[in-house]
Symmetry: C2
Subunit: 185 residues, 2 copies
């Protein structure tokens, strides 16, 4: 089992086209189908979602999830500066902020976990496209919100045939980057 107990809220934010909806889905499936918890993924559309910003919330719980809207965000991933600026206020005190340091110039907090996901995807996996999976690997390692085996299973079951290896490698790039960040602190 993963280490989180009770209700745990993860907000994945960035720009449209970065694959954050898919990342949220993979996280929710890892938590539910493979870890046996309950998970709800929500995406809101409206004034707040305009201006190129995109976000999805994943709520994971051992018990039933009666209220699926994120109210106390435990972890905020920001893959763009506008998304960070918009959603930083939703992070609860003591919550974890993870930013793509390749795209977010001003994390605004000293304790932000800054990892260049998009650059890592480009350099280690050959395409920016994998930045969402790199970030997913890092978030999973940093939060332990889902078990690693479950995350891998969810990712490998979903990605297009023939891309399993590169996606698995992208996950691991994120995991290693997270470990290096934690060791360097």
């Amino acid at each position: 089992m993963s280490e989180t107990k009770g209700r745990y809220e993860i907000r994945l934010s960035g720009a449209g086209g970065q694959g954050l909806m898919l990342a949220g889905k993979l996280l929710a499936e890892a938590a539910s189908v493979y870890d046996g918890k309950n998970a709800v993924q929500t995406q809101s559309y409206g004034p707040e979602a305009r201006g190129g910003k995109s976000k999805t919330d994943v709520v994971i719980s051992d018990g039933e999830i009666d209220y699926p809207k994120a109210t106390k965000v435990n972890v905020l991933l920001a893959m763009s500066q506008p998304a960070l600026d918009e959603y930083i206020g939703s992070l609860q005190p003591g919550g974890m902020l993870v930013v793509d340091s390749y795209l977010v110039e001003e994390p605004g907090r000293d304790d932000a976990i800054a990892i260049p996901f998009t650059m890592l995807a480009l350099e280690e996996c050959g395409r920016k496209l994998f930045a969402n999976v790199v970030a997913l690997g890092a978030v999973a390692e940093l939060t332990q919100a889902v078990t690693w085996d479950s995350l891998r299973s969810a990712v490998l079951a979903r990605v297009p045939k023939g891309t399993e290896k590169i996606n698995d490698s992208a996950l691991d790039v994120g995991r290693q980057a997270a470990r290096q960040f934690l060791e360097g602190k």
Copy 2:
């Protein structure tokens, strides 16, 4: 503007792999980005989502959406028998039931709107894959929850390049089938 006022809840259900998440996303984007309303899309994972069933809820409102979980489902689309059996109880009295008559043998209600979406996709668009877009066109026509122009814009902006024409045609197949059903009543 579309004809619905206040809060309107649409539940799209079926089997995994039928593209219902995407259909929900397109509906939510049509309502928000193009019709100027608010929309929230939610997918739950957990015990209820197992057994090959898949569902996504789209809540559309003129105002803010404080509670994104569907509580009074106005429209239920069921693209498989297990999904219908699981979710029919969530449809509010007087709500609209739309089923894929190619896959649902027992709609269980005399007033069900039964249209063979999957067969239409196969026969009119050449692939079952388009059943979700055919169903989306029908649901939009039946409910008027989003304007037709907005739905088309949302679909054409999202589908892979080169598939715009066939997706546009799939939408229209659904719209025409809905009209024929209403005329035949």
